[in-house]
Amino acid sequence: MSTFIHQELFLKFQQHLDNELELKEKIRAIVREIEQNSKEAAIHLQVIHSNIEKVPQACLEARKCFDKCREGYKQLAELIPPKQYYKYCDQWLYNTHRVVFLIGLTIYLEAGFLVSRETVAEILGLKVSQSEGFHLDIEDYLMGILQMASELSRFATNAVTLGDYSRPLNISRFVSDLNSGFRLLNLKNDSLRKRFDALKYDVKRIEEVVYDISIRGLAPQVQTQAQADEAEQATDSTAA
C-alpha cells in the first residue's frame, strides 16, 4: 500500500520547484537592472519640480534610460518561455507601472498629450497583445497613467511656486480629460480600481491650484474662459 503514495512524486515536484526558482532568480537580476534604469529616469525627471528650464534636457536623459529599460525587457522576453508570462509577471509589473508613468510624463512634457498604450509598448519594445508575445497589459498601462496623474498634481503646485501660471491650467485640462476617460471603464474591485479611486484627489488638488491662481488674477488672460469652464467642471464633478 505504501507504494500508492510514492515518493518519486514529491521528488518530481521538488525538482519542478527548483527549476522554477532558478528561472525566478534570473528574472530578478534583470528586473533589478530595469529598476535601476527607471529610477535613474525618475531622478532626472524630478527636475520639473524645481527648474522648469531644464525640462527638455531631463526628457532627453529620461529617454536614454527608457532605451536601457527596453534592453532589459528584451532580455526578459527572451527568458520567459512562451505562454508563461502570467506565471512570472508579478516580479516586474510593479516596475513596469513606474516606467509607464515616466514615459507618460516625458511625452506629456514634450508634446502635451496622453501617451498611447501602443507608444509605450513601442518605447519599451513590448507587444500590445498577448498573442504576439511579451506584452504590455492594459491594466499595467493604466496603472502607470494613474501614477502620472499624481505626479502632475504635484507638478501643478510646484509650477505655481516657480512662477509658471499657465502650466496648471494645461495640466488641469489634461488630467480632467484623463479622468473622463477613466470613467468610461468598468473597473472591478481590484488594485486598478483602488488606484483609480485616488485619481479624484489628484484632480481636486489641481483644481484647487487653478482656483487659487485664477481668483487672484495670476492666470494668463487668454485662458480666462477656459478656467471658468474648468471651475464649472470642478463643481460638477465634485457634486456628482
Binding site: 500508492f4 515518493q7 512524486l9 518530481k12 515536484f13 519542478h16 520547484l17 505562454k83 476617460g181 468610461l184
Partner: protein, 294 residues
C-alpha cells in the same frame, strides 16, 4: 456614471471653438472606449471561468461524499466506484472542456486563480477515488493532464481570425486542434494535500463500521503522504505550509484511531456493530468536529 459624464460633454461642446485641446480630447476618449472593451472582455471571461470552476467544486465534493458511502458491510464498493468514475469522467469531458475552450490560445496562468479552487477539488476527488480503487500508484499531474487535454475540430473554433493565427502557431495539427486546461504541479500538490482529510475521515468511518484493516491502511497512507510533504521546500508559497499543518493533524487523528484499536481492540473481539466501536469513536468524533472537510 453617465450622470458625471453628461455635464462634461455639454461643457465641451459649448467651448469647442475656443479650446485647442478638443482635438486631443477625442482620441483620449476613443482610446479609453477601446480599453473599456478590452477590460470588460477580460472581466467577463474571468467571471465565466469562476462559474465553471464552482460547478466543478460542487460536483467534486459530491463525488467525494459518494465515495465515503463505501462500506464493506454494505458490499457496495464496486458499484460506488463505477458510479464515481463515470461522474469524474463527466466532469473532465464537460466542465473542464468549457474552461479549456475559454483558455484557448491564452496563457494558462492568466486565469489560474479563477479555476484553481475547482481544479484542486477535482484533484482531491480523483486521488481519493484512486485510493479507494486500490490503485497501485497515485497518478501525478502529468497523468491527469491527459484527461484535460482535448482535441477539437478546427472549424468549431469561434472566430475566423483566431483560426488563422492558430495555423501559424501550430502547423503540425492540420484538421484537429488541441486545447488544454493545464494542471500546474503546484495546484496538484495543493489538491493532493486535501486528500489527507478524506483519508482521515475514511479511517474513522471504517472504525465505525468495524473495518479495521482499512483503518490501518488509511493510517499508513497518511503517514507516507505526510512524509512526502515534508520533503517539499515550499518557496514563496504560503498555502503549502498551511496544508501541511492540516495534513499533520489528520495523520495524528488516524494514528490515534489505530492506537485505540490496538490497545482496546482485544476487549471487543468483533467490531461488527456500531455499539462496540462506540467507546473509541467518542474521542475521535470530538476531534473531528473542527474539520468540516466536505
Amino acid at each position: 456614471m453617465s450622470r458625471n459624464r453628461k455635464p462634461f460633454r455639454q461643457n465641451k461642446n459649448s467651448t469647442n471653438s475656443r479650446q485647442e485641446e478638443d482635438v486631443v480630447d477625442t482620441p483620449v476618449m476613443a482610446a479609453f472606449r477601446e480599453y473599456a472593451k478590452e477590460l470588460d472582455d477580460k472581466h467577463d471571461r474571468y467571471e465565466r471561468i469562476v462559474k465553471m470552476s464552482r460547478d466543478i467544486t460542487i460536483e467534486s465534493k459530491r463525488i467525494i461524499f459518494l465515495l465515503h458511502t463505501i462500506e464493506t458491510r454494505r458490499n457496495n464498493r464496486e458499484k460506488v466506484l463505477e458510479d464515481a468514475e463515470k461522474r469524474l469522467r463527466a466532469v473532465c469531458e464537460t466542465n473542464f472542456l468549457l474552461i479549456a475552450r475559454e483558455l484557448e490560445d491564452l496563457d494558462q496562468n492568466q486565469y489560474l486563480r479563477a479555476f484553481s479552487p475547482g481544479l484542486q477539488e477535482f484533484i482531491e476527488a480523483y486521488s481519493y477515488f484512486e485510493y479507494l480503487k486500490d490503485s497501485s500508484k497515485l497518478s501525478d499531474w502529468d497523468d491527469l493532464q491527459q484527461f484535460l487535454t482535448y482535441n477539437i475540430d478546427k472549424p468549431s473554433s469561434t472566430k475566423e481570425n483566431e483560426t488563422k493565427e492558430e495555423k501559424s502557431l501550430q502547423e503540425q495539427t492540420v484538421a484537429k486542434k488541441q486545447i488544454v486546461c493545464t494542471i500546474k504541479p503546484v495546484e496538484f500538490i495543493l489538491g493532493l494535500a486535501d486528500l489527507g482529510g478524506e483519508i482521515m475521515r475514511r479511517c474513522i468511518n471504517s472504525l465505525g463500521s468495524g473495518d479495521i484493516d482499512s483503518c490501518f491502511q488509511a493510517c499508513r497512507t497518511l503517514q507516507t503522504l505526510y512524509a512526502g510533504y515534508l520533503r517539499i521546500r515550499p518557496v514563496g508559497n504560503r498555502e503549502i505550509p498551511r496544508k501541511i499543518t492540516t495534513l499533520r493533524q489528520s495523520t495524528l487523528k488516524a494514528e490515534n484511531v489505530c492506537y485505540n484499536i490496538k490497545v482496546r481492540g482485544g476487549e471487543a473481539a468483533s467490531w461488527d456493530t456500531l455499539d462496540t466501536a462506540g467507546f473509541a469513536m467518542d474521542k475521535i468524533a470530538h476531534d473531528d468536529e473542527d474539520e468540516g472537510f466536505y
